[in-house]
Amino acid sequence: MTMTTMGPDAARDPNAATRRLQRQDRVFFWLAWGSATLVVVVLLGILFSLVWESIPAVRTFGLSFLWTERWSPAKEIFGALAPIYGTIVTSVIAMVIAIPLSFGIAIFLTEICPKPLRRPIGTAIELLAGIPSIIYGLWGFFVLAPLMQQFVQPFLIDVLGPLPIVGALFSGAPYGIGMLTAGLVLAIMILPFITSVTRDVFQTVPVMLRESAYGMGMTTWEVMRHIVIPYTRLGLVGGVMLGLGRALGETMAVTFVIGNAHRVKASLMAPGTTISASIANEFAEASGKLYSASLVELGLILFVISFTVLALAKWLIGRTESY
Protein backbone atom coordinates (compact mmCIF):
# COMPACT_ATOMS: atom_id res chain seq x y z
CA MET A 1 0.00 0.00 0.00
CA THR A 2 1.64 3.19 1.20
CA MET A 3 4.72 1.35 2.38
CA THR A 4 7.07 2.88 -0.14
CA THR A 5 6.22 6.42 0.91
CA MET A 6 6.24 5.65 4.60
CA GLY A 7 9.85 4.48 4.61
CA PRO A 8 11.56 1.50 6.22
CA ASP A 9 9.68 1.82 9.52
CA ALA A 10 6.38 1.25 7.83
CA ALA A 11 7.68 -1.83 6.08
CA ARG A 12 8.18 -3.42 9.45
CA ASP A 13 5.09 -2.09 11.19
CA PRO A 14 2.50 0.22 9.62
CA ASN A 15 1.45 1.45 13.06
CA ALA A 16 4.95 2.74 13.78
CA ALA A 17 4.67 5.21 10.91
CA THR A 18 1.36 6.49 12.20
CA ARG A 19 2.81 6.80 15.67
CA ARG A 20 5.76 8.77 14.34
CA LEU A 21 3.48 11.17 12.51
CA GLN A 22 1.42 11.61 15.65
CA ARG A 23 4.57 12.35 17.60
CA GLN A 24 5.62 14.97 15.04
CA ASP A 25 2.15 16.43 15.24
CA ARG A 26 2.42 16.71 19.01
CA VAL A 27 5.86 18.35 18.81
CA PHE A 28 4.57 20.91 16.33
CA PHE A 29 1.51 21.60 18.45
CA TRP A 30 3.58 22.18 21.60
CA LEU A 31 6.04 24.41 19.72
CA ALA A 32 3.16 26.54 18.48
CA TRP A 33 1.48 26.52 21.87
CA GLY A 34 4.75 27.43 23.58
CA SER A 35 5.31 30.37 21.24
CA ALA A 36 1.81 31.72 21.81
CA THR A 37 2.29 31.30 25.55
CA LEU A 38 5.64 33.07 25.42
CA VAL A 39 3.91 36.22 24.18
CA VAL A 40 1.66 36.13 27.23
CA VAL A 41 4.64 35.43 29.49
CA VAL A 42 6.54 38.42 28.05
CA LEU A 43 3.64 40.74 28.77
CA LEU A 44 3.23 39.40 32.31
CA GLY A 45 7.00 39.71 32.72
CA ILE A 46 6.89 43.37 31.70
CA LEU A 47 4.10 44.04 34.17
CA PHE A 48 5.83 42.12 36.96
CA SER A 49 9.20 43.80 36.40
CA LEU A 50 7.59 47.27 36.36
CA VAL A 51 5.79 46.59 39.63
CA TRP A 52 8.79 44.91 41.26
CA GLU A 53 11.30 47.59 40.28
CA SER A 54 9.06 50.43 41.41
CA ILE A 55 8.42 49.05 44.92
CA PRO A 56 11.02 51.33 46.64
CA ALA A 57 9.32 54.42 45.19
CA VAL A 58 5.83 53.17 46.04
CA ARG A 59 6.93 52.45 49.63
CA THR A 60 8.52 55.86 50.08
CA PHE A 61 5.98 58.16 48.43
CA GLY A 62 2.76 56.15 48.44
CA LEU A 63 -0.13 57.59 46.51
CA SER A 64 1.07 61.17 46.93
CA PHE A 65 3.57 60.34 44.14
CA LEU A 66 0.70 60.98 41.75
CA TRP A 67 0.07 64.58 42.74
CA THR A 68 3.48 65.81 43.87
CA GLU A 69 5.01 68.26 41.42
CA ARG A 70 8.50 68.37 42.91
CA TRP A 71 11.19 66.29 41.17
CA SER A 72 14.50 66.71 42.91
CA PRO A 73 17.13 63.99 42.33
CA ALA A 74 19.54 65.82 44.66
CA LYS A 75 17.13 65.63 47.62
CA GLU A 76 15.61 62.32 46.52
CA ILE A 77 12.10 63.75 46.40
CA PHE A 78 10.13 62.60 43.39
CA GLY A 79 6.61 63.39 42.21
CA ALA A 80 4.90 62.36 39.00
CA LEU A 81 2.55 65.30 38.54
CA ALA A 82 4.60 67.18 35.93
CA PRO A 83 5.22 64.17 33.64
CA ILE A 84 1.63 62.96 33.94
CA TYR A 85 0.36 66.47 33.23
CA GLY A 86 2.74 66.83 30.28
CA THR A 87 1.77 63.44 28.85
CA ILE A 88 -1.92 64.29 28.99
CA VAL A 89 -1.61 67.87 27.72
CA THR A 90 0.63 67.00 24.75
CA SER A 91 -1.67 64.10 23.83
CA VAL A 92 -4.77 66.32 24.04
CA ILE A 93 -3.12 68.94 21.80
CA ALA A 94 -2.18 66.16 19.37
CA MET A 95 -5.76 64.83 19.29
CA VAL A 96 -7.29 68.30 18.81
CA ILE A 97 -5.11 68.82 15.72
CA ALA A 98 -4.99 65.27 14.36
CA ILE A 99 -8.68 64.29 14.58
CA PRO A 100 -10.12 66.89 12.18
CA LEU A 101 -7.15 66.51 9.83
CA SER A 102 -7.36 62.73 9.64
CA PHE A 103 -11.14 62.72 9.30
CA GLY A 104 -10.72 65.25 6.47
CA ILE A 105 -8.12 63.08 4.76
CA ALA A 106 -10.24 59.93 5.19
CA ILE A 107 -13.30 61.68 3.73
CA PHE A 108 -11.16 62.93 0.86
CA LEU A 109 -9.79 59.45 0.18
CA THR A 110 -13.13 57.62 0.32
CA GLU A 111 -15.56 60.10 -1.24
CA ILE A 112 -13.86 62.91 -3.12
CA CYS A 113 -10.50 61.89 -4.53
CA PRO A 114 -10.50 60.72 -8.17
CA LYS A 115 -10.11 56.89 -8.25
CA PRO A 116 -6.65 56.69 -9.87
CA LEU A 117 -5.19 59.04 -7.23
CA ARG A 118 -6.66 57.24 -4.21
CA ARG A 119 -3.97 54.60 -3.85
CA PRO A 120 -0.91 56.82 -4.32
CA ILE A 121 -2.21 59.50 -1.93
CA GLY A 122 -3.32 56.89 0.60
CA THR A 123 0.08 55.21 0.43
CA ALA A 124 1.89 58.53 0.85
CA ILE A 125 -0.10 59.30 4.00
CA GLU A 126 0.60 55.81 5.35
CA LEU A 127 4.33 56.25 4.68
CA LEU A 128 4.25 58.98 7.33
CA ALA A 129 3.72 56.12 9.79
CA GLY A 130 6.91 54.43 8.56
CA ILE A 131 9.23 57.35 9.35
CA PRO A 132 11.10 56.57 12.59
CA SER A 133 10.15 58.66 15.58
CA ILE A 134 13.67 59.99 16.01
CA ILE A 135 13.37 61.61 12.58
CA TYR A 136 10.21 63.39 13.73
CA GLY A 137 12.21 64.54 16.73
CA LEU A 138 15.01 65.91 14.55
CA TRP A 139 12.59 67.61 12.21
CA GLY A 140 10.55 69.00 15.07
CA PHE A 141 13.62 70.39 16.81
CA PHE A 142 15.48 71.84 13.83
CA VAL A 143 12.66 72.84 11.47
CA LEU A 144 9.36 73.10 13.30
CA ALA A 145 10.55 74.64 16.59
CA PRO A 146 12.28 77.65 14.94
CA LEU A 147 9.16 78.26 12.83
CA MET A 148 7.00 78.08 15.95
CA GLN A 149 9.31 80.47 17.78
CA GLN A 150 9.45 83.05 15.01
CA PHE A 151 5.92 83.03 13.64
CA VAL A 152 3.30 80.87 15.32
CA GLN A 153 3.95 81.46 19.01
CA PRO A 154 4.39 85.29 18.87
CA PHE A 155 1.14 85.41 16.89
CA LEU A 156 -0.71 83.24 19.44
CA ILE A 157 0.70 85.24 22.35
CA ASP A 158 -0.33 88.55 20.76
CA VAL A 159 -3.79 87.47 19.67
CA LEU A 160 -4.95 84.96 22.30
CA GLY A 161 -2.70 85.98 25.22
CA PRO A 162 -4.74 89.02 26.33
CA LEU A 163 -8.04 87.07 26.43
CA PRO A 164 -9.41 86.14 29.86
CA ILE A 165 -8.99 82.50 30.99
CA VAL A 166 -7.85 81.16 27.59
CA GLY A 167 -5.08 83.76 27.69
CA ALA A 168 -3.23 81.88 30.41
CA LEU A 169 -2.66 79.00 27.96
CA PHE A 170 -0.93 81.33 25.54
CA SER A 171 1.16 83.51 27.81
CA GLY A 172 4.88 83.75 28.37
CA ALA A 173 7.83 83.83 26.03
CA PRO A 174 8.04 82.00 22.71
CA TYR A 175 10.67 79.33 23.41
CA GLY A 176 9.98 77.32 20.26
CA ILE A 177 10.24 74.05 22.12
CA GLY A 178 7.57 73.13 24.69
CA MET A 179 4.19 71.47 25.09
CA LEU A 180 2.58 73.02 22.02
CA THR A 181 5.38 72.03 19.64
CA ALA A 182 5.49 68.52 21.15
CA GLY A 183 1.72 68.22 20.67
CA LEU A 184 2.05 69.33 17.06
CA VAL A 185 4.78 66.77 16.31
CA LEU A 186 2.66 64.06 17.97
CA ALA A 187 -0.32 65.12 15.86
CA ILE A 188 1.70 64.55 12.69
CA MET A 189 2.86 61.15 13.94
CA ILE A 190 -0.58 59.81 14.80
CA LEU A 191 -2.26 61.29 11.72
CA PRO A 192 -1.60 58.22 9.52
CA PHE A 193 -2.90 55.81 12.20
CA ILE A 194 -6.19 57.61 12.72
CA THR A 195 -6.56 58.14 8.97
CA SER A 196 -6.15 54.49 8.11
CA VAL A 197 -8.57 53.23 10.79
CA THR A 198 -11.07 55.94 9.81
CA ARG A 199 -10.82 55.01 6.15
CA ASP A 200 -11.28 51.33 6.95
CA VAL A 201 -14.40 51.89 9.04
CA PHE A 202 -15.84 54.29 6.42
CA GLN A 203 -15.57 51.40 3.98
CA THR A 204 -17.69 49.17 6.22
CA VAL A 205 -20.75 51.31 5.44
CA PRO A 206 -22.96 49.24 3.10
CA VAL A 207 -22.92 50.63 -0.42
CA MET A 208 -26.73 50.37 -0.39
CA LEU A 209 -27.02 52.95 2.43
CA ARG A 210 -24.63 55.35 0.79
CA GLU A 211 -26.19 55.04 -2.66
CA SER A 212 -29.71 55.45 -1.31
CA ALA A 213 -28.64 58.66 0.41
CA TYR A 214 -27.06 60.00 -2.77
CA GLY A 215 -30.16 58.87 -4.67
CA MET A 216 -32.31 61.06 -2.45
CA GLY A 217 -30.23 64.02 -3.56
CA MET A 218 -27.94 64.39 -0.55
CA THR A 219 -24.67 66.19 -1.07
CA THR A 220 -21.35 64.47 -0.30
CA TRP A 221 -21.08 66.33 2.99
CA GLU A 222 -24.63 65.38 3.99
CA VAL A 223 -23.97 61.73 3.24
CA MET A 224 -20.86 61.87 5.44
CA ARG A 225 -22.50 63.85 8.21
CA HIS A 226 -25.84 62.04 8.40
CA ILE A 227 -25.15 58.52 7.09
CA VAL A 228 -21.49 57.50 7.19
CA ILE A 229 -20.35 59.14 10.44
CA PRO A 230 -23.37 58.07 12.55
CA TYR A 231 -23.08 54.54 11.14
CA THR A 232 -19.36 54.24 11.95
CA ARG A 233 -19.43 56.24 15.20
CA LEU A 234 -18.00 53.55 17.47
CA GLY A 235 -15.26 52.58 15.04
CA LEU A 236 -14.26 56.22 14.69
CA VAL A 237 -13.92 56.61 18.44
CA GLY A 238 -11.92 53.38 18.47
CA GLY A 239 -9.55 54.70 15.80
CA VAL A 240 -9.13 57.92 17.73
CA MET A 241 -8.31 55.94 20.88
CA LEU A 242 -5.68 53.90 19.00
CA GLY A 243 -4.09 57.19 17.94
CA LEU A 244 -4.29 58.44 21.52
CA GLY A 245 -2.51 55.30 22.73
CA ARG A 246 0.34 56.01 20.32
CA ALA A 247 0.57 59.64 21.38
CA LEU A 248 0.71 58.77 25.09
CA GLY A 249 3.63 56.39 24.74
CA GLU A 250 5.67 58.15 22.07
CA THR A 251 9.18 58.83 23.30
CA MET A 252 11.92 60.08 21.02
CA ALA A 253 10.02 62.69 19.03
CA VAL A 254 8.77 64.28 22.25
CA THR A 255 12.15 64.08 23.98
CA PHE A 256 13.64 66.39 21.34
CA VAL A 257 11.06 69.15 21.56
CA ILE A 258 9.52 69.08 25.05
CA GLY A 259 12.33 70.88 26.91
CA ASN A 260 12.50 68.38 29.80
CA ALA A 261 11.41 70.64 32.67
CA HIS A 262 9.64 69.01 35.63
CA ARG A 263 7.15 71.82 36.08
CA VAL A 264 3.43 72.29 35.70
CA LYS A 265 2.80 75.55 33.89
CA ALA A 266 -0.51 76.82 32.59
CA SER A 267 1.07 78.10 29.39
CA LEU A 268 1.24 75.68 26.46
CA MET A 269 4.36 77.50 25.27
CA ALA A 270 6.31 76.54 28.38
CA PRO A 271 8.78 73.66 28.36
CA GLY A 272 7.54 70.60 30.25
CA THR A 273 8.14 66.89 30.26
CA THR A 274 6.22 63.68 29.61
CA ILE A 275 6.50 60.28 31.25
CA SER A 276 8.36 58.70 28.35
CA ALA A 277 10.64 61.72 27.84
CA SER A 278 11.60 61.72 31.54
CA ILE A 279 12.51 58.04 31.38
CA ALA A 280 14.48 58.44 28.15
CA ASN A 281 16.38 61.47 29.45
CA GLU A 282 17.10 60.37 32.99
CA PHE A 283 17.04 56.58 33.37
CA ALA A 284 20.56 55.91 32.09
CA GLU A 285 22.04 58.45 34.52
CA ALA A 286 19.71 57.77 37.43
CA SER A 287 21.91 57.13 40.44
CA GLY A 288 20.37 55.69 43.56
CA LYS A 289 17.64 53.13 43.99
CA LEU A 290 14.90 55.63 44.71
CA TYR A 291 15.60 57.68 41.58
CA SER A 292 15.43 54.74 39.17
CA ALA A 293 12.48 53.22 41.07
CA SER A 294 10.59 56.51 40.64
CA LEU A 295 11.29 56.46 36.90
CA VAL A 296 10.10 52.85 36.65
CA GLU A 297 6.95 53.79 38.57
CA LEU A 298 6.38 56.49 35.93
CA GLY A 299 6.69 53.70 33.36
CA LEU A 300 4.13 51.63 35.25
CA ILE A 301 1.69 54.57 35.26
CA LEU A 302 2.20 55.00 31.51
CA PHE A 303 1.64 51.29 30.95
CA VAL A 304 -1.62 51.35 32.89
CA ILE A 305 -2.85 54.45 31.03
CA SER A 306 -2.02 53.08 27.57
CA PHE A 307 -3.46 49.66 28.42
CA THR A 308 -6.76 51.26 29.45
CA VAL A 309 -6.91 53.34 26.28
CA LEU A 310 -6.13 50.31 24.09
CA ALA A 311 -8.70 48.11 25.81
CA LEU A 312 -11.38 50.78 25.28
CA ALA A 313 -10.35 51.18 21.63
CA LYS A 314 -10.50 47.43 20.98
CA TRP A 315 -13.88 47.15 22.62
CA LEU A 316 -15.31 50.02 20.54
CA ILE A 317 -13.84 48.81 17.24
CA GLY A 318 -15.01 45.28 18.00
CA ARG A 319 -18.53 46.55 18.42
CA THR A 320 -18.62 48.13 14.94
CA GLU A 321 -17.24 45.01 13.31
CA SER A 322 -20.02 42.90 14.75
CA TYR A 323 -22.75 44.94 13.08
Binding site: E53, F108, P132, Y136, G137, T219, T220, F283
Partner: protein, 281 residues
Protein backbone atom coordinates in the same frame (compact mmCIF):
# COMPACT_ATOMS: atom_id res chain seq x y z
CA UNK B 1 -27.31 78.52 -9.35
CA UNK B 2 -29.79 81.38 -9.54
CA UNK B 3 -32.68 79.03 -10.25
CA UNK B 4 -32.09 77.07 -7.03
CA UNK B 5 -34.02 77.91 -3.92
CA UNK B 6 -32.06 79.44 -0.99
CA UNK B 7 -32.03 76.25 1.09
CA UNK B 8 -30.54 74.18 -1.71
CA UNK B 9 -28.03 76.89 -2.40
CA UNK B 10 -26.97 76.88 1.25
CA UNK B 11 -26.64 73.08 1.19
CA UNK B 12 -24.45 73.21 -1.90
CA UNK B 13 -22.32 75.94 -0.44
CA UNK B 14 -21.84 73.98 2.77
CA UNK B 15 -20.91 70.92 0.74
CA UNK B 16 -18.36 72.88 -1.27
CA UNK B 17 -16.76 74.15 1.94
CA UNK B 18 -16.58 70.62 3.42
CA UNK B 19 -15.11 69.18 0.22
CA UNK B 20 -12.55 71.98 0.05
CA UNK B 21 -11.57 71.51 3.71
CA UNK B 22 -11.03 67.78 3.33
CA UNK B 23 -8.95 68.34 0.18
CA UNK B 24 -6.89 70.86 2.15
CA UNK B 25 -6.44 68.30 4.94
CA UNK B 26 -5.08 65.79 2.41
CA UNK B 27 -2.82 68.48 0.95
CA UNK B 28 -1.47 69.27 4.43
CA UNK B 29 -0.69 65.59 5.01
CA UNK B 30 1.20 65.32 1.73
CA UNK B 31 2.96 68.61 2.35
CA UNK B 32 4.26 67.43 5.73
CA UNK B 33 5.64 64.23 4.18
CA UNK B 34 7.32 66.29 1.46
CA UNK B 35 8.69 68.77 4.00
CA UNK B 36 10.25 66.05 6.15
CA UNK B 37 11.79 64.28 3.17
CA UNK B 38 13.07 67.59 1.79
CA UNK B 39 14.68 68.49 5.13
CA UNK B 40 16.40 65.10 5.22
CA UNK B 41 17.68 65.37 1.66
CA UNK B 42 18.79 68.99 1.85
CA UNK B 43 20.60 68.60 5.17
CA UNK B 44 21.73 65.01 4.78
CA UNK B 45 23.22 64.88 1.30
CA UNK B 46 26.05 67.26 2.26
CA UNK B 47 27.25 64.81 4.90
CA UNK B 48 27.13 61.74 2.66
CA UNK B 49 30.44 60.41 1.43
CA UNK B 50 32.26 57.13 1.19
CA UNK B 51 33.74 57.76 4.64
CA UNK B 52 30.28 57.57 6.19
CA UNK B 53 30.24 53.88 5.33
CA UNK B 54 33.89 53.03 5.99
CA UNK B 55 34.91 54.90 9.14
CA UNK B 56 33.68 54.76 12.72
CA UNK B 57 32.10 57.63 14.62
CA UNK B 58 34.68 60.32 15.37
CA UNK B 59 35.38 62.24 18.55
CA UNK B 60 34.13 65.81 18.26
CA UNK B 61 36.11 68.02 15.91
CA UNK B 62 37.60 65.32 13.73
CA UNK B 63 36.68 63.38 10.65
CA UNK B 64 34.81 60.11 10.63
CA UNK B 65 31.81 58.13 9.51
CA UNK B 66 28.98 55.98 10.73
CA UNK B 67 30.29 52.53 9.83
CA UNK B 68 30.05 51.18 13.39
CA UNK B 69 26.54 52.53 13.79
CA UNK B 70 25.36 51.10 10.45
CA UNK B 71 26.93 47.73 11.32
CA UNK B 72 25.35 47.87 14.79
CA UNK B 73 21.92 48.69 13.41
CA UNK B 74 22.11 45.78 10.98
CA UNK B 75 23.32 43.34 13.66
CA UNK B 76 20.74 44.44 16.25
CA UNK B 77 17.90 44.34 13.72
CA UNK B 78 18.95 40.91 12.46
CA UNK B 79 19.25 39.56 16.00
CA UNK B 80 15.79 40.88 16.80
CA UNK B 81 14.25 39.46 13.64
CA UNK B 82 15.98 36.07 13.92
CA UNK B 83 14.63 35.66 17.45
CA UNK B 84 11.17 37.02 16.74
CA UNK B 85 10.39 35.35 13.41
CA UNK B 86 10.10 31.66 14.42
CA UNK B 87 8.31 32.50 17.67
CA UNK B 88 5.99 35.00 16.02
CA UNK B 89 5.08 32.74 13.10
CA UNK B 90 4.49 29.73 15.37
CA UNK B 91 2.45 31.80 17.83
CA UNK B 92 0.38 33.25 14.99
CA UNK B 93 -0.15 29.73 13.65
CA UNK B 94 -1.34 28.52 17.04
CA UNK B 95 -3.73 31.43 17.52
CA UNK B 96 -5.10 31.24 14.00
CA UNK B 97 -5.20 27.46 13.43
CA UNK B 98 -5.47 25.73 16.81
CA UNK B 99 -7.20 28.30 19.00
CA UNK B 100 -9.59 29.78 16.48
CA UNK B 101 -12.72 31.02 18.22
CA UNK B 102 -11.76 29.70 21.65
CA UNK B 103 -11.91 32.03 24.66
CA UNK B 104 -8.25 31.49 25.55
CA UNK B 105 -7.26 32.15 21.96
CA UNK B 106 -9.17 35.44 21.94
CA UNK B 107 -7.52 36.45 25.21
CA UNK B 108 -4.07 35.61 23.83
CA UNK B 109 -4.82 37.66 20.70
CA UNK B 110 -5.80 40.60 22.88
CA UNK B 111 -2.63 40.26 24.95
CA UNK B 112 -0.61 40.24 21.73
CA UNK B 113 -2.30 43.49 20.71
CA UNK B 114 -1.46 44.98 24.11
CA UNK B 115 2.19 44.08 23.54
CA UNK B 116 1.96 45.47 20.00
CA UNK B 117 0.99 48.89 21.30
CA UNK B 118 3.02 48.93 24.51
CA UNK B 119 5.24 52.04 24.59
CA UNK B 120 8.67 50.96 23.33
CA UNK B 121 10.46 52.78 26.16
CA UNK B 122 8.77 50.42 28.61
CA UNK B 123 10.14 47.43 26.72
CA UNK B 124 13.55 49.05 27.10
CA UNK B 125 13.02 49.26 30.87
CA UNK B 126 11.94 45.61 31.00
CA UNK B 127 14.93 44.27 29.07
CA UNK B 128 17.20 46.52 31.10
CA UNK B 129 15.96 44.84 34.28
CA UNK B 130 16.09 41.39 32.67
CA UNK B 131 19.40 41.38 30.78
CA UNK B 132 21.43 44.47 31.66
CA UNK B 133 21.22 44.75 35.46
CA UNK B 134 21.93 41.03 36.18
CA UNK B 135 24.99 41.00 33.88
CA UNK B 136 26.16 44.41 34.98
CA UNK B 137 26.75 45.75 31.48
CA UNK B 138 24.92 47.06 28.44
CA UNK B 139 25.08 44.53 25.63
CA UNK B 140 24.15 44.06 22.01
CA UNK B 141 22.30 40.89 23.07
CA UNK B 142 20.01 42.96 25.29
CA UNK B 143 19.38 45.41 22.44
CA UNK B 144 18.60 42.58 20.03
CA UNK B 145 16.20 40.95 22.51
CA UNK B 146 14.46 44.29 23.15
CA UNK B 147 13.94 44.70 19.40
CA UNK B 148 12.71 41.08 19.22
CA UNK B 149 10.05 41.88 21.84
CA UNK B 150 8.87 44.73 19.60
CA UNK B 151 8.95 42.65 16.41
CA UNK B 152 7.28 39.59 17.95
CA UNK B 153 3.71 40.94 18.22
CA UNK B 154 3.95 42.48 14.72
CA UNK B 155 4.90 39.13 13.15
CA UNK B 156 2.39 37.26 15.32
CA UNK B 157 -0.44 39.57 14.28
CA UNK B 158 0.32 39.55 10.54
CA UNK B 159 0.70 35.75 10.58
CA UNK B 160 -2.74 35.44 12.22
CA UNK B 161 -4.28 37.77 9.64
CA UNK B 162 -2.60 36.08 6.69
CA UNK B 163 -3.44 32.51 7.78
CA UNK B 164 -7.07 33.57 8.18
CA UNK B 165 -7.08 34.36 4.46
CA UNK B 166 -6.03 30.85 3.43
CA UNK B 167 -9.14 29.07 2.16
CA UNK B 168 -10.33 26.12 4.26
CA UNK B 169 -10.65 23.92 1.18
CA UNK B 170 -6.84 23.80 0.99
CA UNK B 171 -6.59 22.48 4.55
CA UNK B 172 -9.37 19.97 3.95
CA UNK B 173 -7.84 18.76 0.70
CA UNK B 174 -4.47 18.22 2.38
CA UNK B 175 -6.07 16.49 5.38
CA UNK B 176 -8.12 14.28 3.07
CA UNK B 177 -4.89 13.07 1.46
CA UNK B 178 -3.89 11.81 4.89
CA UNK B 179 -1.34 14.54 5.64
CA UNK B 180 -0.71 14.96 9.37
CA UNK B 181 -1.66 18.30 10.80
CA UNK B 182 1.84 19.70 11.03
CA UNK B 183 2.41 18.92 7.37
CA UNK B 184 -0.86 20.64 6.50
CA UNK B 185 0.43 23.71 8.34
CA UNK B 186 3.98 23.81 7.04
CA UNK B 187 3.57 22.49 3.50
CA UNK B 188 0.15 23.89 2.64
CA UNK B 189 -1.02 26.72 4.89
CA UNK B 190 2.35 28.46 5.37
CA UNK B 191 3.12 28.12 1.68
CA UNK B 192 -0.18 29.64 0.68
CA UNK B 193 0.39 32.55 3.05
CA UNK B 194 4.12 32.89 2.29
CA UNK B 195 4.16 36.37 0.79
CA UNK B 196 1.82 37.68 3.48
CA UNK B 197 4.02 36.37 6.27
CA UNK B 198 7.09 37.75 4.52
CA UNK B 199 5.37 41.14 4.37
CA UNK B 200 4.82 40.99 8.11
CA UNK B 201 8.50 40.21 8.67
CA UNK B 202 9.58 43.08 6.40
CA UNK B 203 7.25 45.48 8.22
CA UNK B 204 8.72 44.29 11.52
CA UNK B 205 12.24 44.94 10.17
CA UNK B 206 11.15 48.42 9.11
CA UNK B 207 9.64 49.04 12.51
CA UNK B 208 12.56 47.89 14.66
CA UNK B 209 15.41 49.28 12.58
CA UNK B 210 14.29 52.82 13.39
CA UNK B 211 13.60 52.24 17.08
CA UNK B 212 15.64 54.31 19.49
CA UNK B 213 13.89 54.23 22.84
CA UNK B 214 14.31 50.49 23.60
CA UNK B 215 18.03 50.67 22.76
CA UNK B 216 18.88 53.54 25.10
CA UNK B 217 19.18 51.29 28.16
CA UNK B 218 19.98 47.99 26.47
CA UNK B 219 22.62 48.12 23.73
CA UNK B 220 23.34 51.76 24.65
CA UNK B 221 25.94 53.27 22.31
CA UNK B 222 29.57 52.73 21.46
CA UNK B 223 31.94 55.18 19.89
CA UNK B 224 34.18 52.46 18.52
CA UNK B 225 33.85 49.61 16.08
CA UNK B 226 32.68 46.61 18.10
CA UNK B 227 31.52 43.18 17.04
CA UNK B 228 31.29 41.85 20.60
CA UNK B 229 27.69 40.95 21.32
CA UNK B 230 28.31 41.08 25.07
CA UNK B 231 29.27 44.74 25.00
CA UNK B 232 27.46 47.94 24.21
CA UNK B 233 27.02 48.53 20.50
CA UNK B 234 26.38 51.65 18.45
CA UNK B 235 23.28 51.91 16.28
CA UNK B 236 22.16 54.55 13.81
CA UNK B 237 19.20 55.87 15.86
CA UNK B 238 21.17 56.24 19.09
CA UNK B 239 24.08 57.89 17.26
CA UNK B 240 21.68 60.27 15.53
CA UNK B 241 20.18 61.12 18.92
CA UNK B 242 23.57 61.77 20.50
CA UNK B 243 25.09 63.66 17.57
CA UNK B 244 22.07 65.79 16.71
CA UNK B 245 21.81 67.13 20.24
CA UNK B 246 25.53 67.94 20.39
CA UNK B 247 26.89 71.43 19.74
CA UNK B 248 29.51 70.20 17.23
CA UNK B 249 28.98 70.97 13.54
CA UNK B 250 30.56 67.82 12.15
CA UNK B 251 28.61 65.60 14.54
CA UNK B 252 25.40 67.28 13.44
CA UNK B 253 26.32 66.80 9.79
CA UNK B 254 26.82 63.09 10.42
CA UNK B 255 23.51 62.92 12.31
CA UNK B 256 21.65 64.28 9.29
CA UNK B 257 23.48 61.92 6.92
CA UNK B 258 22.49 59.03 9.20
CA UNK B 259 18.91 60.28 9.33
CA UNK B 260 18.77 60.38 5.55
CA UNK B 261 20.18 56.84 5.22
CA UNK B 262 17.88 55.26 7.79
CA UNK B 263 14.70 56.99 6.65
CA UNK B 264 15.10 56.10 3.00
CA UNK B 265 16.09 52.53 3.87
CA UNK B 266 12.95 52.16 5.99
CA UNK B 267 10.66 53.80 3.45
CA UNK B 268 12.08 51.47 0.78
CA UNK B 269 11.32 48.47 3.01
CA UNK B 270 7.78 49.73 3.52
CA UNK B 271 7.26 50.13 -0.20
CA UNK B 272 8.66 46.66 -0.95
CA UNK B 273 6.38 45.15 1.70
CA UNK B 274 3.38 46.91 0.16
CA UNK B 275 4.31 45.76 -3.33
CA UNK B 276 4.42 42.16 -2.06
CA UNK B 277 0.88 42.47 -0.70
CA UNK B 278 -0.36 44.08 -3.90
CA UNK B 279 1.07 41.36 -6.10
CA UNK B 280 -0.82 38.84 -4.00
CA UNK B 281 -4.08 40.59 -4.57
Amino acid sequence: MSTLNPITRRRYRRNAVAVALSAIAAAIGLLILAAILWTLVSRGVGGLSLKVFTESTPPPGSDGGLANAIYGSIVLTLTGIVIATPIGVLAGTYLSEYARGSKIGEAAKFINDVLLSAPSIIIGLFINALLVVPFGTFSAWAGGVALAVIALPVINRTTQDMLALVPNTLREAAAALGAPRWKVMTFVVWRAAKSGILTGILLAVARISGETAPLLFTSFNNQYWSTNMSQSMASLPTVIFQFAMSPYDDWQRLAWAGALIITFAILALNIIARALVDRRR
